[in-house]
């Protein structure tokens, strides 16, 4: 099987380790991974801040970069939700505003081929035990777009529970937003910080060593708060945990 990796702009520039982990993990599971170099950002920051028109070129680019791929996998619930939920909407609006049906068609063709990582593992590859080894106590924060936008359900937790040596502890108030929210984090810094502080306090209260998530944007916010508070807890993307094995532990 072949799959194209949509690494996302945040992971490309700031969290390459997540992308590398996805490549290792998928290859270990027998998937040939492509990385179309023409890919860039999905346009979510622009769209969510109210700049829909600025989103359109990025949407066109994304659709073109993945045109020939049957499976597009991304380690970000919010970018997957952007493509699946919002691209069709943006395409329809562009068509209604007389900019042709081209964007609408691009969206309609791309949206069903995009999978968030845990969806791809569980639904397409049909695995929950990916052969990972990670002997630590972990708590999991399900980011909102994965949880409510994509309806990932218990897929991430099933994958984590199957990891050898891993002790998964329940995060109280797990379904509550962490307060990142894209530009919300800088437009409403006080509320954003208050929400994040409650989330990190809940995580610290579990006694876990690692706060795991499947969206590095949320983790950047939570990690920033933890580090400012000199907390010993560290944040990790789910892909890094799933990629770790006894032979090749996390670097």
């Amino acid at each position: 099987m072949r799959a194209a990796l949509f690494v996302t702009c945040v992971n490309d520039a700031l969290y390459p380790r997540t992308g590398i982990a996805v490549v290792r993990l998928l290859e270990r599971l027998g998937v040939d991974v492509d990385f179309p170099a023409a890919q860039s950002c999905c346009g979510q920051p622009q769209y969510n801040t109210g700049y829909r028109h600025e989103t359109e070129p990025l949407m066109r680019r994304t659709a073109r970069a993945f045109a020939g791929h049957e499976f597009v996998v991304t380690p970000s619930g919010s970018c997957a939700a952007m493509i699946r939920e919002h691209y069709p909407r943006i395409g329809r609006k562009a068509a209604a505003e007389g900019r042709g049906g081209e964007l609408a068609e691009a969206a309609a063709s791309l949206a069903p081929r995009v999978y968030e990582l845990t969806e791809f593992l569980v639904d397409v590859l049909g695995v929950t035990d990916v052969g990972a080894y990670f002997p630590h106590t972990v708590t999991y924060h399900p980011s909102c777009h994965g949880l409510r936008g994509l309806g990932l359900g218990d897929r991430p937790r099933r994958l984590l529970t199957a990891v050898k040596g891993l002790d998964l502890v329940e995060l109280p108030g797990a379904e509550e937003c962490c307060g990142f929210g894209g530009t919300f984090a800088v437009k409403n810094p006080d509320v954003s910080t208050a929400m994040g502080a409650d989330k990190t306090a809940a995580a610290a209260g579990t006694g876990a060593q690692v706060l795991c998530g499947a969206d590095n944007s949320c983790l950047a916010h939570l990690d920033g708060l933890l580090r400012r508070a000199d907390s010993p807890m560290r944040t990790l993307h789910l892909a890094e945990i799933l990629a770790a094995t006894e032979e090749e532990p996390l670097p």
Partner: protein, 494 residues
Amino acid sequence: MTGTYLGMPAFPEAAREAVRDEVLRANLRHATHTIRDKRARSVAELADWDRLRAAGKAVKDHTLRHLDRYLLQLEEAVTAAGGTVHWAADADEANRIVTDLVRATGEREVVKVKSMATQEIGLNEALEAAGIAAYETDLAELIVQLGHDRPSHILVPAIHRNRAEIRDIFRTEMGSWGRPAPEPLGDDPRELAEAARLHLREKFLRARVAVSGANFMVAETGTMVVLESEGNGRMCLTLPETLISVVGIEKVVPTFRDLEIFLQTLPRSSTAERMNPYTTMWTGLGPSRGADGDGPAAFHLVLLDNGRTDTLADETGRQALRCIRCSACLNVCPVYERAGGHAYGSVYPGPIGAILSPQLRGTGTEIDASLPYASTLCGACYEVCPVAIDIPEVLVHLRERVAQGGPVTRGGVRVTLRPADGRTAERATMRAARLLLDHPGALRAGERLLARARRLAPRRLPGAGRAWTDSRELPTVPAESFRDWWARERGDTQ
């Protein structure tokens, strides 16, 4: 704190104060979490909740699509039942109509059952200016009114107050509005309720004019429906001689049978109750109302537009008019929980307020332009909404209106809005970011530059970036981007 919302600061500034107020945050957290859990339990009891939700959405959408027809049908039915219908295009007109109606009775005071519509138009202030005293009779409204405060929640307007604060307000304020609070007064809920009961009873028995809102209006029968839980509403609706109801035009439903849906979804969504304690319905003067029977001898219905038909003209935004004001979205909203209701600068706080106010009032003021951004788009509000309003979708739609401008209807006229003031820098940033992201070559060069300078990265950023680094560390820039790793590992030449 004044009773009006004029000149409110933008949401982030207003929220900052609330976030720092530990007592307020604790009050809000406790109240919202309690009701949120109870709601989830009572909703889970109904096996057909999803279908009720879909049915409620469908009825409301159908009604909104044919609003003109149903409003005319309603007017006819109300008139046939002995009531009088008045049409008010905006707040001023509605206030004038009500003031004139009260004046015509010769009375100088009215009792009120909690009504969002009259708060929206500032009726109490308008009546006061005309020398007429308006007394709120809902317990929480009473607390807000006595405390010279503003409501901060749709359903529990005094949610931001705790018992000790309420006792102090009763003690110091009740006397100047009527019967003083009994002495000594403790902060036990029963004692507080009894003090309110005694205070209010005097008002109910004396008042000859009442002002109400309505949760629903039935077009086919002309029936008004009010849901409340204390019985104060029923007192207002039955004791006085004149009843004036001020109701937003979106509250109409076509048939009596449609109530079946909402009488199940509204109480469960709002107070987590299976059935509402007091549901009062009246049709005009009815056979037993008027001079010879029970109830008022005169009934006036003021149908309020105040921005609603303009909202209706917007394809994406109009779904906000489906709202049945259950307040479930407030109770699950993590932003509301921290910021409190006052920060939203409107009688409609929380997620619904963030999409309703900038539509009813326009996005012209600082507070209204900031409201669409008062959300992380986490989607919890959409998930609980009993009429399935996609609040995040409308938020993004309104952000676009603020950031890019676009066509809107104001006062029934189609106009094109220009982007809100002060967005030049943001627009430039978004455009620059897009240009960079749309050129992977440039992006790659930028990433390399960043990687090379990573040791020089400051701990605190200047300008807009300060909003991040004031409270959070920045992510560490890696030595190599993913793109470069791939090229190096896989030997792809790009």
